[in-house]
Amino acid sequence: MPLIQELDTGTPIRVSDETVTLTIDGNQVTVPKGTSVMAASVTMGTKIPRLCATDSLEAYGSCRLCLVEIEGRRGTPASCTTPADNGMVVHTQNERLAKLRKGVMELYISDHPLDCLTCSANGDCELQDTAGQVGLRDVRYGYDGEKHKQAPIDDSNPYFSFESSKCIVCSRCVRACEEVQGTFALTIEGRGFQSKVSPSGTDFFGSECVSCGACVQACPTATLNEKMVIQMGHPEHAVVTTCAYCGVGCSFKAEMQGDKVVRMVPSKDGKANDGHSCVKGRFAWNYATHKDRMTKPMIRAAITDEWREVSWDEAIAYAASEFKRLQAKYGTDSIGGITSSRCTNEETYLVQKLIRGAFGNNNVDTCARVCHSPTGYGLGATLGTSAGTQEFASVEEADVILVIGANPTDGHPVFASRMKKRLREGARLIVADPRKIDLVKSPHIRADYHLPLKPGSNVALINAFAHVIVTEGLVNEAYVRERCDLNDFEAWARFVADVRHSPEQQEGVIGAPAADVRAAARLYATGGKGAIFYGLGVTEHSQGSTMVMGMANIAMATGNIGGIGMGVNPLRGQNNVQGSCDMGSFPHEYPGYRHVSDDATREMYEALWGVSLQRTPGLRIPNMLDEAVEGTFKGLYVQGEDIAQSDPDTHHVTSGLRAMECVVVQDIFLNETAKYAHVFLPGSSFLEKDGTFTNAERRISRVRKVMAPLGIYADWEATMLLSNALGLPMTYTHPSQIMDEIAATTPSFKGVSYETLERLGSVQWPCNDDAPEGTPTMHVGHFVIGKGKFMITEFQATEERAGPRFPLILTTGRILSQYNVGAQTRRTSNSMWHEEDVLEIHPFDAELRGVKDGDLVALESRSGDIAIKARISERMQPGVVYTTFHHAKTGANVITTDYTDWATNCPEYKVTAVQVRKTNRMSDWQARFFEEDVALTRVAPKMEAAE
């Protein structure tokens, strides 16, 4: 489709039950109360000239172009700041207004470079358009006076440039950074004619700017412009697609020239992101065409051999014959696969279908194992559904926000901006995190309570909360009586009322002052609508599932599920980890979370696929690796996952991989896991295929192909080739057919189709006859499970404890600019912000060890050791250190252990006992890493085509 121009009403759209009716240029128009005259005029079809107004920002009234005359009122008010009122009679055009507008325009143009034809905004410039609209013909001031035309260009940000000479000081960028992003990184420096947009007196890169691009989007001139547009010129058509980074799932318009992406612009219609973006989705997408992209299948007999490029046919035939050989020799259960949380729903569905139908076993698992599997277990046990209960927009009505074990300003930035907007409006905030994350205190945001709990004490904290709620009479009795199982509630209430769970008695374990814990619990219970947001700081623990249940318990006890502004919200990490779970990537579940022993479901699939299916659970990833080491698991098909970098206890992972005889990796880059692979199939990025992703809101959105797959086949096509070679026929010609099969076989997806998605844009499951347009809020009126089930959550300290040998606790996390294993972001300019992983350590702990900022330190646990640079940081607490896992060569997971959540085997990444000491050399593992980085990745030089 051609470039998508969304309607811009000039001022934000208002929603109200009341309406007002006014007359504009002789036309009667009715709008919601609170709508500005400018926006009312747009709905009527007339665009009043404007420059400082855009509907993503509140009205500002500074440019003085949008003046109108209103009968009965003096002067010429600005239509952007004037609310429409009943009976108003407005004139938007007459001689006086025309003269005033020309006068304003004249002033703007008197200090503006006139190189329109070679300017990067030529054809896409609101200043140009508006000058044309008001009919400016000459500038009587001449062009010789004081000017800003020689202002220097700020090129410091890798993705966009700031050309001050073209700035009209409309302040849209400053306001976008405040209202939309919430970072407040820009200001107007000076005053009067000297007014200048400035990122606090430095350049953009050195400022507080987080490169979200909101200012670039808001800028009406060429002042803030994408470097790609400057280089390439304007795009000529656009395709709406969904971001492939995090679980927010922002909707973007991929604006193209031919099959080259010029830029990704957030789509205003995106329900998840509401027209906003972050540095990754907005700018860091050209990893898709990076030179490291693998585009040819390769095979090798041993991992120490060179890779040999071969045809698709040969690679598929080799993989299929190997898998068959292994099953013949070692048994049906000796091979398995891992689906991707980054690939589409359709692709994931095919992988689990291949494993179940062609491999004949249930040895399929996914990365959700290592992140949110406890969410599935915990919420399934208490509420009956293994997914978040709300949509993101729900945060706009929350009164109390409780953030536990999540750092949304880094991990889910676009959602965090929405949350911060609500916080600035006055919602209260409780943050439970060992670190002093940005949400605790940053410009205009201050948490009412920061509970700096010790890693591993989550359940003690939630029990303390529950204790306060029950013993102080803060339970919502009516809600519990109506909606929950009373026997379970009474057992639970008796349990938490015990004084051993009180904040005072647990203070030593939790590490946060009892008074704060009490006050925070009271605030959550009595402050109005309470919404819980949580992340991997909850799930990646040995009691991850227990904690999820604990949070559901207090949400039920306070009546905070089943309405807008409340709920239990897991911030799911990956773009399609929710989808991957929905599509049956678990060894015990078919698509739609139906157990493999469920006869009705299994028989339906057996009939549809024409095979017989195993009725008992298969192996989870950790167990696949265990059995590989034990010699009984021999083959693995991995699509779009890098377990050698992302999974814990790297030594165990690589031992397992090495012990296998056929590892097939399907990915866009030669990743860490591929070092141990025998077959490599080139994967496809989100730009190269059609499909759908499901975000943390259960929202299914379209991914649309904008370029041909670099490796010839999209991931779903590659899986089909393998499936056919193994004897399970797959003949889909388009992903929509795969979705049709999913919809036909999965009750919660019954109403989902590409046609529905075209019509509605996106849809939140369940989407079926009961909810044909999807389900924004779950458990309205009653829980999916029937009566909500309170679960007993006794605190068990993890086995992993600090001791004399390893006195500190390491916790891990994400940052804004790099994404997970960094495969994508390290291949973009985002590396300018985070070139290496560092170890954050509190000044006290550092001083004790003679460690200064920037020193190389050895980080050691009982699993292994690495060398890493130290960074002294006040946001840590004594006793806790922190690092990221974005760079393979750091080897952060060499340190993490094999302790896991009791219910799901989700690894306890967040608690590892470590010691830190100064060093001056790489660790043995790191040295071996550099050797293997060369030895196991060699590709044979290309030979001339034989035929």
């Binding site: 046990a381 157990h595 469920d598 659970p617």
Partner: protein, 97 residues
């Protein structure tokens, strides 16, 4: 071979650890619910092979096993698991073995 013996012992220790973790969670419930919970969880999530190994461990009287795990593997169950929502197939209520 001692290597194989090592692996077997390691496996048994691993299974015991995972099962004991379950016992710590379900231990907050009355005995009959606790053993239904542990058994149900294992049937639901473990492969039959792992389940069989654990039963064998219980029958051997492996001292590493929490008493509730032993009971869960060997005693009949008469009530539903506290996390019954997860148990959707008939196997969830089947006797161990």
């Amino acid at each position: 071979m001692s290597d194989h013996g090592d692996l077997v012992a390691k496996k048994a220790a691993k299974l015991a650890m995972m099962a004991n973790q379950m016992a710590q969670f379900f231990g907050s419930y009355p005995h009959d619910q606790a053993i239904a919970g542990i058994s149900g969880h294992i049937v639901k999530f473990w492969t039959p092979k792992m389940h069989a190994l654990l039963i064998a461990q219980a029958e051997r009287g492996d001292p590493a096993l929490h008493p509730l795990v032993v009971d869960a593997m060997l005693m009949p169950k008469h009530v539903e698991s506290p996390t019954k929502n997860h148990a959707t197939g008939d196997l969830a209520h089947a006797d161990a073995g």
